[in-house]
Symmetry: C2
């Protein structure tokens, strides 16, 4: 196929031959998806080192009509960076420069391939705080975080990735660059294009760099692990915390006992923070960048008050950074532990917080009827109304049989999510995994608008084909 | 013209004959723009009472090819709701219901025509706080606030109107309804369409209702009026406040002495809060929804510390609600006072905060050279980097001669804004007044994208024609 060879040859002249990967062994980190549900079959993986190289690549691919799948750390959970035969994966990991950091303006300019944890560290070194934080932060890249509008554990206070973006640099499908790298807090000059690209999963343009907000570093912190009887009490605790610590409440994560059992089953050395067993736990974190009263004392008092009401059953406070890390690791290892004990059918849902108890009752009932013995592992960002409502296989059921019922169980859960005014994709995005469900649960006027926007911005359909929303075949 | 008569007749059957206004006297509140720079010449003003009526109107107008200019309180400052001959103004003031308020979820569902101050009051009655606040709040409407992504005096803490929107209901140009009335804090199901309509000034759809965020009501507050030697010191004060009160700092407004002189010249009964005269003043407000130490004591201590450094020259704290209101009224009356003393050429600019002193020096120099004796009245939202860099006519200059140089002086100021990485439309939007400047200062790739989006969403060009961005003539 001379045309394709010629394209790869020309691409190799742009990025250097070692950065056009066709060898299956070298391609592995980019083509195997984390959960193993999809495998990519791209004609090549290309790794540009600069925006100028991305431009040249897009111009060449546009000319050749070759489709491009942008990829960051390949840590996504919805197959959004999976490539079909003939497509090219553009992996942005070499674009990992922090271009500048302005501590006075609380802003930082980064390339798309900067690893999230590296950005957190760079901010901390300048006395600032970059608040986006999630389990994959050691390998996910900021371009992917923005493209999926990533959530994580401090959304309650700082918002999703979207809220942290001041400006973007984006290469369009024809190779033109939109330079929207603004540092401004206020700007009403026409349509706010950055919001179009944030969360678009690479279907509208390739984010090559971003101007991001920074915050003052914390000087006070308190972290507690709290035993609770039920989810209603967790919401009561949340309301009380918001009353008293609206400016300081950074995280409230829900951990059901079954999840803690899985984590301790997988890593027996990990210690149960509370001796007695409760149906639910909340991991609570307060932080403040300003001096003031000890937050641990205040949080301890609040928990004691709520213990008198019977809302809080028990609680422990972390007394140093090491203990804080230990409490968080119990939360962060749930997903991996769940995988260790068999198949897991995943959901990433949100409902209005006030609807959570009703949703959880209805969902427990419905999934139990659909699959007797199924184990519900519903955990996560209660403060945002966002739960990872995961299902583990019933004891004795075959793993493959269980996983074959993925779509069916998704349907049971998602029907109830929609009934309760919720979202079937709260923070992980749509990708391939949720595309058909998006179409199912979304009104046609909304689908039409999404298609019209996609066609308007990428008229040749070259960017991340098949993801988020299908286009009419041409 | 039988076709048009027939359309108005059919519209009258939808909304009732008294709500299709063609009488010039009755039309006055809707066709005369606040600053008197534009006059509308619509064939009619139509006032629907429900989303269903908006749908019928849009279907009829779409069929007839008649263009629609949506209008709220008609308080905008850029001519965004001005209608050309043959167009119809759709005024949404009758849609003024608060559909529901969920204090537990901190959300409220409102129709587009709700007056901002009414919404603030309704939230307060339920123990909540709706933070959008601006001088026109007694008559501006929430639909207009969202359509212009309004700013105001508490952006520093709560963000622009955009940040307060959870969901929207929008009628498209062909009469279809997009129901995006979500209550969710987290939702990544495809492109986030609400952000397209926010700040689009009615060019992409007609916002008929919104789901908005609420916040806990304040229980502590401190307001101070601070005398300063220069803008650098105002920025130093800001940095100190953000260090110590990052969670409580709600507003920092800059008031130059010349502005205070104008306000006191116009309303001689108003008292100068500080006896001595300083070149600049800052109006500082701290608020908190949580109990704790008295914020006035804390703010007083901080000002005293900064007085020792020489940064703060003097300051007074409001000791009750009445005094707080008095201090704010000095700030809020600047615009009106400036108008009383002659012509005023307006700018609504932002630059990164760290660039403000350099911008102000350069701009003072440039406008002084372009028009000797011009009076610079640069005031406003220093905390956001957003100043209303207004110019008053030199003593003795004819008002009309001065105002005839509007575009020329805009150019002088805006060239410097762009040079300092700023925005020529920080919070008022583009409308007609800034449309040609938007085109001048914006890269062609960005203009092309905006045009493509507009054509994709409103292919017949029926919505608010001529505003924000021109389309290729058809």
């Amino acid at each position: 196929v001379p045309q394709i060879e010629s394209l790869l040859g020309r691409l190799a002249r742009v990025v250097g031959p070692t950065n056009v990967i066709t060898d299956p062994d070298l391609a592995k980190p980019y083509v195997i998806e984390r959960r193993g549900r999809y495998t990519s079959l791209p004609q090549a993986i290309i790794r540009p080192a600069s925006t100028a190289q991305v431009v040249e690549i897009m111009m060449l691919c546009h000319q050749a009509g070759v489709r491009i799948v942008p990829q960051g750390g390949n840590t996504g959970l919805t197959g959004a960076t999976v490539a079909a035969p003939g497509e090219i994966i553009m992996q942005l990991g070499r674009m990992n420069r922090i271009r500048s950091l302005d501590a006075r303006n609380f802003s930082v300019e980064v390339e798309a391939g900067v690893v999230l944890a590296d950005l957190q560290r760079a901010a901390a070194e300048q006395g600032c705080h970059f608040p986006l934080s999630l389990a994959a932060e050691g390998s996910c890249q900021i371009g992917g975080n923005i493209s999926t509008n990533a959530g994580g554990v401090s959304v309650l206070h700082y918002g999703n990735a979207r809220e942290l973006v001041l400006g973007l640099e984006v290469v369009l499908s024809d190779g033109r660059v939109w330079n929207g790298m603004r540092k401004l807090r206020k700007n009403n000059t026409g349509y706010d294009l950055k919001h179009l690209f944030i969360g678009a999963e690479g279907t509208l343009g390739i984010i090559t760099a971003a101007m991001l907000r920074l915050f003052p570093a914390h000087v006070r912190q308190a972290t507690a692990w709290v035993g609770l009887s039920n989810v209603d009490d967790a919401l009561r605790l949340l309301a009380k915390l918001e009353d008293r610590y609206s400016g300081e409440l950074t995280a409230l994560e829900l951990v059901p006992r079954v999840a803690l059992d899985m984590v301790r089953g997988r890593w027996p050395d990990l210690i149960d923070p509370i001796a007695a067993i409760y149906p639910y736990y909340a991991l609570v974190e307060l932080t403040s960048p300003a001096p003031g009263a000890d937050l641990r004392d205040g949080l301890g008092d609040l928990l004691a008050e709520m213990a008198e009401d019977g809302c809080v059953r028990d609680g422990v406070l972390a007394h140093n950074a090491e203990q804080t890390k230990t409490l968080w690791s119990l939360r962060e290892r749930i997903s991996e532990a769940q995988g260790y004990f068999g198949g897991s059918i995943k959901h990433d849902i949100s409902v209005p917080r006030s609807r959570i108890p009703a949703f959880m009752r209805a969902a427990a009932d419905a999934v139990g009827r659909a699959m007797p013995g199924v184990v519900i592992v519903a955990f996560g960002h209660l403060g945002d109304g966002n739960l990872h409502y995961n299902l583990s296989q019933p004891v004795g059921m075959d793993r493959a049989d269980f996983l074959n019922r993925w779509e069916e169980m998704n349907r049971v859960v998602h029907d109830l999510v929609v009934l309760h005014g919720g979202s079937i994709a709260a923070e992980h995005g749509i990708g391939l995994a949720r595309r058909d469900e998006l179409a199912r649960y979304t009104a046609s006027v909304e689908l039409d608008m999404m298609r019209a926007l996609r066609s308007a911005v990428d008229p040749d359909g070259l960017l991340n084909p098949g993801k988020v929303i299908d286009l009419p075949s041409r």
